[in-house]
Symmetry: C2
Subunit: 375 residues, 2 copies
């Protein structure tokens, strides 16, 4: 299974044509494209081109409504609840974080909880919207239930990522991670590569550790049971209850505060019902934003320069890998797996888009892969 | 190593006498006592009576200043920065959360960051202050560096717990956990019991997994290197970078926003310099607090009633264990390890308190234990 490298401009142009053909406005298509390509540029392969198949299916099934307009249904100077009305998750997320930022700029802080949305891509994108304006940003989302609670055997929480971005030099603190030990997207990538999963990531329908990505994805999709374990594993000895707890914090900030659907009810019966949470904070409400930024930058530097473990090349601070990945990918192109290209080809065929206009003579090899079941 | 059981009233009376003898006012002694005993009642042994030795040493060394008054040094309608002026951590924490709650009641949300404090006990106590008033509470703290960043070999972050409490029936959602795989307090308890640590909790000074609690505590205390790994372990495969990231979020909310000391500078050279973060949110800023509470309660019930893993007795939601522990301990007494009683005896001797007034004929067995090195 090989990777093809394509320029940012090529993939951007393709995405723009895809979403405009699906009926989104130019502005909305730009937002969706920017979220997708940011993920690939950051090196988060699972949420870039690899995710287009999910949206393709959702739009065609009517789960994602192209014409829907996210609506503010409750509001105070520091908060809001948004009803996404089944819009594309990226458009709900973008609108919600814009509103949180607006409130942070006037009131010091803004918290927005959104319901009835769809998969919104990487949580980090929205956190970065705030940090790129000098604010602290936090974003989280629930999603299709994939996380089995500690001592349970049915997935009841989503991958439930939490992302936070805080201005710093030479690169923002930028943390974006699922509260499960790994994401479903990572299982999909293993499945496309036909690689066995490390034991300790996922459980089969009996609650027994499984290394079969395809089986686990199938069981989750069909509600057979099993799923991915919380960060910390499947017992309390290494902190399973902690990952489960972080997952719960996400449910509270997204589904509970918005009175939306919890993960166990998301993406069932033709509705997305996904919920998100967003926080923007102006560091000026703690005094001197420049001093705070410098203080964080110093600490990040101390962490990077602290002694390394035997055999370790480098201590990273959160955000460095993404910043470096962007530089590499803008220069060398964005790697896309052949099996993901199979999905893109299918989308182009459906929308009557000329695949060769973007990818020339390249055609994905026929591996028998028909696209991820879940996505 | 046996446990003695003592009534809540006995231990409360002892604590009150101890802190008043140290020179704290009746009101301040009540706050300190309540934080300590809440921990023991919740079943969090590591932060109850077991922690008094730490405060005993801190007060006697002048690191914890009995007369210090926490001061609000910066304030907006939604935020504040508090300088603890080296006061007892519990008093800084209580004052800061009171202020956050006050702001939440008037502005909808309050965020307070505190610097120059000391160890403040369980983070959850302060989160509960908010939830007991119908608000959402969040509390976190940095602490002595014990967490080794992913691929590092020197402890650079604290145990950095995050606690959240949200009103629900029949018991609040109440999450309180370190962002390390386990706490130093747990290592201390293993040390007192002379039990080997499970591999995967801690690293020795070379960065190699260690099962020796005493060695790890000694190495951390003397700055030799090594420490406890983040939630998720010591490599990225199982999410080490995620636990490290949560630890960083705590540093940001506590030390960075308050311009205080990061964990790598806490409790060095005779100063505590510990920093905390507090958030209180009025759920009314999202609409109907009663509906939000009911929505959360329903979801918690669904989680508890979801299918259990093979061999598992029960699925817990966060806060149940603590609520049940309180009921058991109020009825059957609070278990205190003999080696912790050695420490209490020492404190009583120092303060000229009649140990037998509280514990009758009981005297801790002479095991050669002189009190935890760290505490």
């Amino acid at each position: 299974m090989a990777y093809q490298h394509w320029s940012y401009e090529t993939l951007k142009a393709l995405c723009m044509e895809v979403y405009q053909k699906f009926g989104f406005s130019t502005r909305d298509s730009e937002v969706i494209t920017d979220v997708l390509l940011s993920s690939d540029l950051y090196g988060i392969e699972s949420h870039g081109m690899q995710r287009m198949q999910l949206y393709n299916k959702g739009i065609r099934a009517g789960k994602i409504k192209v014409d829907a307009k996210p609506e503010v249904v409750f509001e105070t100077p520091v908060s809001a609840v948004i009803d996404g009305h089944d819009a594309m998750g990226q458009l709900v997320g973008h609108r919600a974080m814009e509103l949180a930022i607006e409130k942070a700029k006037t009131s010091g802080i803004g918290i927005v909880s959104a319901r009835n949305s769809n998969h919104y891509g990487i949580a980090g994108y929205y956190a970065k919207m705030a940090s790129s304006q000098g604010l602290i940003g936090l974003s989280c989302t629930n999603s299709t239930a994939i996380m089995v609670p500690t001592y349970g055997r049915r997935a009841m929480l989503g991958s439930n990522p939490i992302a936070m971005a805080v201005p710093a030099e030479p690169c923002d603190f930028f943390f974006d991670a699922s509260t499960t030990v790994v994401t479903l997207g990572k299982l999909e990538v293993y499945n496309k590569q036909s690689k066995p999963l490390p034991l300790g990531w996922a459980l089969d329908q009996e609650g027994i550790p499984s290394d079969n990505a395809g089986d686990v994805i199938h069981n989750i999709t069909t509600g057979n049971g099993g799923g991915i374990v919380p960060l910390g594993g499947d017992t309390e000895q290494f902190g399973s209850h902690k990952g489960y707890g972080y997952g719960m914090i996400v449910e509270i900030l997204s589904a509970i505060l918005s009175l939306g659907a919890t993960s166990n009810l998301c993406n069932i019966g033709g509705k997305g019902l996904v919920c998100h949470g967003f926080i923007a904070i102006d560091p000026a409400i703690f005094g001197d934003p420049a001093a705070i930024k410098e203080h964080l930058s110093n600490y990040l530097r101390q962490l990077r320069e602290s002694p390394r473990a035997e055999g370790a090349d480098r201590i990273y601070t959160h955000g460095e890998k993404e910043q470096e990945a962007v530089a590499v990918r803008m220069k060398e192109g964005i790697p896309v797996l052949d099996n993901t290209m199979v999905e893109l080809l299918g989308i182009c065929k459906y929308l009557d888009i000329d695949f060769s206009k973007y990818f020339g003579d390249y055609l994905p090899p026929d591996t028998g892969f028909k696209g991820n079941e879940f996505s």
